[in-house]
């Protein structure tokens, strides 16, 4: 199971009412559970090459309204391009996890066709998570950040 597959599972949990997913593959098992925010609960088994997922047991219960989830906002890519966390190679990143941002603060750059496009926060709040790595190609709608609005 590689990082890409794990990320896809996290995205799935985040976008639906799924509470928990447990997968087993070649003796490796992973359980991902929602509690406020998706967490990797356990990862057992030895490292191995990734293979097609063979079994999914998901419990599709609706999350209760009174859960203590904060209303995290997902910042999605508005374009197709390459995601950069800093204005230039070697420079400090625009934001780090935990940073406070204002509406309009530049979060990252998406480079498309040699043009650098600054992506700004739409709300004020705190950077909860950075979901993509520096230099990753991203598609339209791809989740980039989770912001915790004030």
């Amino acid at each position: 199971m590689d990082l890409k597959q794990i990320k896809a599972i996290i995205k799935l949990i985040h976008e639906t009412d799924v509470e928990e997913i447990e997968l087993e593959q070649d003796g490796r098992r992973i359980r991902i559970r929602r509690r406020g925010l998706p967490q990797i609960a356990s990862l057992t088994g030895s490292a191995g090459v990734s293979a097609p997922l063979t079994q999914v047991a998901a419990s599709l219960t609706s999350a209760p309204d009174t859960r203590e989830t904060t209303n995290l906002i997902t910042v999605e890519s508005p374009m197709v391009g390459t995601f950069y966390l800093a204005p230039a190679p070697g420079a400090d990143p625009y934001v780090r996890e935990g940073d406070k941002v204002e509406k309009g603060t530049v979060l990252c750059i998406i480079e498309a066709m040699k043009l650098m496009n600054e992506i700004e926060a739409e709300v004020s709040g705190k950077v909860h998570s950075i979901l993509e790595e520096n230099g990753q190609p991203v598609e339209y709608g791809q989740p980039l950040f989770l912001l915790e609005p004030v």
Binding site: M79, V80, G81, T82, A112, M113, P137, V138, E139, Y140, G141, Q142
Partner: protein, 445 residues
């Protein structure tokens, strides 16, 4: 050969191109809008990139997003399919400037054939008969009247800068010309920002006969015979067949040679189609040239045995044409019926979820489709769901085979034009091969 191609299209043609890539060992990249996330072309491609919201302007027509998608996936070439940006010379140029191969003709060739007046001039220069008419845009109604005395009535006034029926007027005699000229000119100005008109003799009844061409980068060009596309509604084709019941071997050779002359005169690259009108006396006239792969290309593939999409990719990769004219022959008879998600009587589009789907099969039956049971046909794009193509030894067998296949074809959840196609195939005039561009009116009445 390319190692990776991005398909700048959707639906059945995107799937068609992916299939050709797969057979050539080329990695395919699909692009999709939010509305097409579960579309079959996305699921079939080796890689897929979401490029925007459902609106075409922000997805399939959005050049920066398409180029960006090619860049981040490392695609060396883009296949534009048909429609969307397939005949957009700016897009072809931008691909060029970004070092991406545009699988199709050059930007210059697209521009040339896209200008209706210039295309006519090119045809005349290549010795291809054109519909009698004006060689240049008309300066005034008086000039039109003067020319009309030579060209004859009835005639069509058409917009130089346009198409799609706008800025067009049918004129039956000299008395109606002045008024028609003003009206058409004003309409052309409003629709295309250019009031210029030209005129052509109106040929009716006529058959719409198009010749499939292939040209390579070394300057060789061949034709792959004709398709008869006379059955149309509001300039949209419903059914196509090859060979045409109206063509003799001699006429086919003449029309084919004329089309190849035109292609050679501009060093045409890739697949293209020259459209002719054929009147009742065996005279053919150049109408226009389409610089793309066409919806109805499978009909030609069936009777020639040649894979046109693979040929396009090979030409774009710099390979010379594999076949010479003497190697190409038409064998058997092929018919294609377009199956649209529309009401078969009112033609109102019928998007929605396909609940059940049963495709026809058996000998000589081919179905090109991107739909599957459980898929949703979005309301944002065209209504073409599937192309049903048959091949028979004779035209009779092809007609019988198509009727059988239409009978096996079941779609539940959305309306389809299958009932209309059955009526067309059952009509005595169609069975007798008596079809002109007026045919559909008589069936629909």
């Amino acid at each position: 050969m390319f190692s990776k191609i991005l398909i700048a299209n959707r639906g059945e043609i995107a799937l068609r191109i992916i299939r050709a890539c797969r057979e050539l060992g080329v990695t395919s990249v699909a692009v999709y809008s939010d509305a097409d996330a579960k579309s079959l072309h996305v699921l079939s491609a080796d890689e897929a990139i979401c490029i925007g919201p459902p609106q075409s302007a922000q997805s399939y027509l959005n050049m920066p997003r398409l180029i960006s998608a090619a860049e981040i996936t490392g695609a060396e070439a883009i296949h534009p399919g048909y429609g969307f940006l397939a005949e957009n010379s700016s897009f072809a140029e931008i691909c060029d400037q970004c070092g991406i191969v545009f699988i199709g003709p050059t930007a210059e060739q697209i521009r040339l054939m896209g200008d209706k007046v210039k295309a006519r001039e090119t045809a005349v220069a290549a010795g291809v008969p054109v519909v009698p008419g004006s060689e240049a845009p008309l300066g005034s109604a008086e000039e039109a009247a003067h020319l009309a005395r030579r060209v004859g009535y009835p005639l069509m006034l058409k917009a130089s800068a346009g198409g799609g029926g706008k800025g067009m007027r049918l004129v039956h005699s000299a008395t109606g010309l002045g008024q028609a000229f003003s009206a058409a000119s004003a309409e052309a100005m409003a629709a295309f920002g250019n009031p210029a008109l030209y005129l052509e003799r109106y040929i009716s009844p006529a058959r719409h006969i198009e010749i499939q061409l292939l040209g390579d980068q070394a300057g060789a060009a061949v034709h792959l015979g004709e398709r008869d596309c006379s059955i149309q509604r509001r300039h949209q084709k419903l059914l196509e067949e090859s060979p045409s019941p109206a063509l003799t071997t001699d006429l086919r050779a003449k029309m084919g040679e004329a089309a190849v002359r035109l292609a050679r005169s501009v060093h045409y690259r890739g697949a293209g189609t020259v459209e002719f009108l054929l009147d009742g006396e065996g005279n053919f006239y150049f109408m226009e040239m389409n610089t793309r792969i066409q919806v109805e290309h499978p009909v030609t593939e069936m009777v020639t045995g040649i894979d046109l999409v693979k040929a396009q990719i090979r030409v774009a990769a710099g390979e010379p044409l594999a076949l010479a004219q003497e190697d190409i022959s038409l064998r058997g008879h092929s018919i294609e019926c377009r199956i649209n998600a529309e009401d078969p009587e009112t033609f109102v589009p019928s998007p929605g979820r396909i609940l059940e789907l049963r495709l026809p099969g058996g000998p000589g039956v081919r179905v090109d489709t991107h739909v599957y049971a459980g898929c949703t046909i979005p309301p944002f794009y065209d209504s073409l769901m599937a192309k049903l193509i048959v091949l028979g030894d004779t035209r009779e067998e092809a007609v019988a085979r198509m009727l059988r296949a239409l009978g096996e074809f079941e779609i539940q959840g959305v309306k389809s034009t299958i009932p209309l196609q059955k009526r067309i195939l059952s009509s005595p005039d169609f069975k007798a091969g008596r079809v002109t561009t007026r045919f559909l009116e008589s069936v629909l009445v």
